[in-house]
Symmetry: D2
Subunit: 351 residues, 4 copies
Amino acid sequence: MDKIKVGIIGSTGYAGQELARLLSGHKHAEVIRYGSRSYDGTAFSEVYGNMYEIADDTCASDDLEELSKEADVIFTATPQGYLAGVLNETILNNCKVIDLSADFRLKDVAVYEKWYKIEHKSPEFIKEAVYGLCEINRDKVKGARLIANPGCFTTCSILSLYPLVKEGMIDTDSIIVDAKSGTSGAGRGAKVANLFCEVNENIKAYGVATHRHTPEIEEQLGYAVSENGGPLTINFTPHLVPMNRGILATCYAKLSAAFDYDTVRKAYEKHYSEEKFIRLLKKGFNPETRWVEGSNYMDINFVIDERTGRIIVMGAIDNMVKGAAGQAVQNMNIMFDLPEDEGLKITPMFP
Amino acid sequence: MDKIKVGIIGSTGYAGQELARLLSGHKHAEVIRYGSRSYDGTAFSEVYGNMYEIADDTCASDDLEELSKEADVIFTATPQGYLAGVLNETILNNCKVIDLSADFRLKDVAVYEKWYKIEHKSPEFIKEAVYGLCEINRDKVKGARLIANPGCFTTCSILSLYPLVKEGMIDTDSIIVDAKSGTSGAGRGAKVANLFCEVNENIKAYGVATHRHTPEIEEQLGYAVSENGGPLTINFTPHLVPMNRGILATCYAKLSAAFDYDTVRKAYEKHYSEEKFIRLLKKGFNPETRWVEGSNYMDINFVIDERTGRIIVMGAIDNMVKGAAGQAVQNMNIMFDLPEDEGLKITPMFP
Amino acid sequence: MDKIKVGIIGSTGYAGQELARLLSGHKHAEVIRYGSRSYDGTAFSEVYGNMYEIADDTCASDDLEELSKEADVIFTATPQGYLAGVLNETILNNCKVIDLSADFRLKDVAVYEKWYKIEHKSPEFIKEAVYGLCEINRDKVKGARLIANPGCFTTCSILSLYPLVKEGMIDTDSIIVDAKSGTSGAGRGAKVANLFCEVNENIKAYGVATHRHTPEIEEQLGYAVSENGGPLTINFTPHLVPMNRGILATCYAKLSAAFDYDTVRKAYEKHYSEEKFIRLLKKGFNPETRWVEGSNYMDINFVIDERTGRIIVMGAIDNMVKGAAGQAVQNMNIMFDLPEDEGLKITPMFP
Amino acid sequence: MDKIKVGIIGSTGYAGQELARLLSGHKHAEVIRYGSRSYDGTAFSEVYGNMYEIADDTCASDDLEELSKEADVIFTATPQGYLAGVLNETILNNCKVIDLSADFRLKDVAVYEKWYKIEHKSPEFIKEAVYGLCEINRDKVKGARLIANPGCFTTCSILSLYPLVKEGMIDTDSIIVDAKSGTSGAGRGAKVANLFCEVNENIKAYGVATHRHTPEIEEQLGYAVSENGGPLTINFTPHLVPMNRGILATCYAKLSAAFDYDTVRKAYEKHYSEEKFIRLLKKGFNPETRWVEGSNYMDINFVIDERTGRIIVMGAIDNMVKGAAGQAVQNMNIMFDLPEDEGLKITPMFP
């Protein structure tokens, strides 16, 4: 079998580099282009020393349309607005596109423009774009030309809560997601706020009541309430944690009835027991980000507080893998009819 | 003026050591005993190298009653149950006692025994013990013989929410406190769970729906609802963060009416504008643990989410200072009629 | 081809767990026993949550001789003295043994007993034990029954300096190795010194002039000076760094003549250019531990200081992989005539 | 007594901020200007939240000469070349200047220009500038108008080795300094190399054989060899450690004779026993950066390796305090005839 030819636009950001790492272990794919505007002309392995003698190719500042003639699939790990600005019908006819930015995640352009504060340049492709949350939308992913790869917080929040919402076990106006993320989620841009000394020995909330993943969670989780979405409104608060990788979402909601652990557990098993990448932990074990580090796993468990009638669901992922590059590869595998875990059979690394 | 003679029982735990650090800069107090069972006979500065040439005294395993004859005040930074097991009338007649454990924090013995799972050995002193949350109970602290110094999570949670509860601005059954703590809160015991490699590069929730600071927050915050307490029930979830110091409490509650920022701000100012150690941040600035590190400050701010009708209050303290030793010294200052910030005029250290 | 049956004694220490991680991705090996005295009866994945749904086997406290009847190879990741205390001819006839402890690394029993301060219980096996530094002793490893897997500091120090010593390019009495290690090297024992708050935000030297890897480095590097070893004496100083993984060795030595970069480079290439796991970095790039994290690579480079006539060689490994479990698997691959990198084709993970 | 009026140029870098922290606790000094080009017009406490309600002054982009009319002393915590570019006789007649940059540290302009690769704009002031290493040059500091405040690595390296060199106990061509620094030493500039994810979980050497503190150490330590300096040449290798603060220098040298611990100890005591900020640790205790954190202390100890005839001296400082702002304040105290430890009686903070 010929290898899938992969192009990466934005390969020198953290998500792009993680794609390179994962694809270096993928049997049926090869990277033919390490796209990078900032490092055009530099060897990829000079930018990321871990890739030395593994990916010594020279980075190139590529035109997406040109690249689409050679590639079978292109991952765009680019700033918001880039893909929407250059996408066209030719590209989508030439190859598959998996977009790690937010450009095609929200179905309502107005919502996109309100939360991202930029104009959407190619709304005509929004409708066909498939929201690539594999465990929920697997069937739609199969035939898609354009995948909107979910955000990291979004993946973690939605998968944590999905069975509860789908099965009507919680009040959909009572959801609070308090999320904690490692710093790689902030990207590799040179900003004072992300310097070692600013992040280390600190924890802070940010984007309180205004974070852009909020409408994405609401929209997608809303489809679990009703076909056309909602009603479902949440509070979402991300926090920055002094660690490289990992997202932990601590989710609170009012149970719609006095369900016990086993009943709720069954709802989770109904939806996830066949999923290779979702691990429902044993009762009494809480998800921790360290146990999924480097892997595509998502760990989930929950506690019911009878005193308050609330359920506390905890979900943990590696933001770089299941929250970005890993899920993107998972989508690629589904689209190309490969085993869903090809290139992703990675045992989490500890410590 | 003679210096206050201070004894510390449990001086070689983290909270005890922090007391030693703070008291080394206190003009009107001197430590006459570094109590320690584990390091009996060892120089204090061999246990904590930072204290070399500052506190080279030899640690001693002291009898509380004996020590009470020499000391003006004794801090007990000891495991749960210790003080309740040895306290008696003689001791309290000899000197003041400021207890950093939980032994005298809860007024209801049954609640104590249920959450702490140990028998309370001297319930007769519970009633007179004053809950030493200085900003709320300053007047009672003044004349007290026995202070129950508040827990770290408790201090942070209560002070974050107090004005809202006191002024009736939130629904008291809607409160969720999602707290994040540095690792010094776990103490200096040699446990696998607290090893560097277990804590580093990880975040986890623990004690979900069962953490012992829950009833303490509920009781104290309940007094702001009504004189006899409550009704007020909360969800409280602590998380362990890979950093040494600091607690951030992210608190969620339903506003009881559509208050705007300025109205709520006024409630906070009413209660805290005269407080030296509480800093209400400028609008738009969120509390971060790094800005209070090493100091007795508590930073507070909030955001109102009109979409959900909830307020998100954030409070940050240094768990070792305002959450333990600093507040204990603040209590001592009040009890001995000293300026409340003596020994505590410490500018937070960054980075 | 039948899978190699692997037993791990001491599987619940960090090195044992790393063996489990690496072997979970090995095509021709399967772990048949997760040996552990401390966690006898507990599922391996309850001890290490990363292994959940990957290695859920129950840990057992195994007798080495019993296990040798079922296993093709046994890894002992055990405290010093354990293997020497139980090894016998029957075991070595039944299966291969790869020892990650120091029991069979030093050829001179007296040196072992002096530096380790314990009696050696089975000196009769010292002679046949092969020092499993694959790149140097590959041929001897092939036919061995018993492998003494090198120490982490030792691997890094020897491979950094070997070409220089072998080619006579440095004065062998001028060598200083200043090494820096992540904290996983200290193991999973519950010790105050290794608590998060003790290690974080700190750097210290330890075992100054007395660390046990010193004679190991001297002996092995000595064989590069002369057949019978030496003369070669070094200063070796390890430091503890607040990070999980990685060793960086900064080595200083007087050049025996005024060699330039290219000449020295050729010596390194002569010995290492065919080595899959040794990466000689491009001129101007210094090894950093992050670039080898999670992998079996060793990165090497050097700088010549003409002002002082010294060469500064830097070598970086992941102490858990090339410094322990990875090299052990590499030895297994050599012994069982498998591709040397089977199970070890791991791209380093960053960040 | 009137307070000393202090101006800080470059107050919003890490060293400038540390000056602000230390001066906030100084009885006889007040900051009258928080100079900052980048944050002109912004409240200092908006740049550094720790200073909220402590230093809320607005930052201003100041002309040094204008400021010199109002200030008694000006600290310049500015990039290399700034002070040399603007200094003049008028300024030095108006007020004292304590320069935290390297502009006036090296007596030989050619050496400065070679290592710093910039032209020196006011070499006429080099001769009068006093190298402000208080413990060595106290007398000269007293009457100085212009202080060249030493570099962080330099302070730590020189003070670690000074007694040995001064007393002729080591071979001056055998010195190797392997230094490890926290990341605050890299400053607050927004550089990819200093992002959290780049520094965390990593250790690397940098500036190998080319670091600018090398000639500074050689020159100053050279004066301990002979009046006109040297001969003394060293190898100096700095490393970046994933922690905020602290420098550990591990220094190696050949003893000039077979001195024992006590003999060498006496040499250290001869020079340092009266020094408030130098702590010679008890035999067997190694300096660790955590024990000096936040303070102006320098901890020193050493080990003699009889096998190799070398001494290993370890010195630890907080790079922000004794390595920068603390020593600058110490110099100010000496110049203004204040107790040398005014504003610096800070107990190190742990953990």
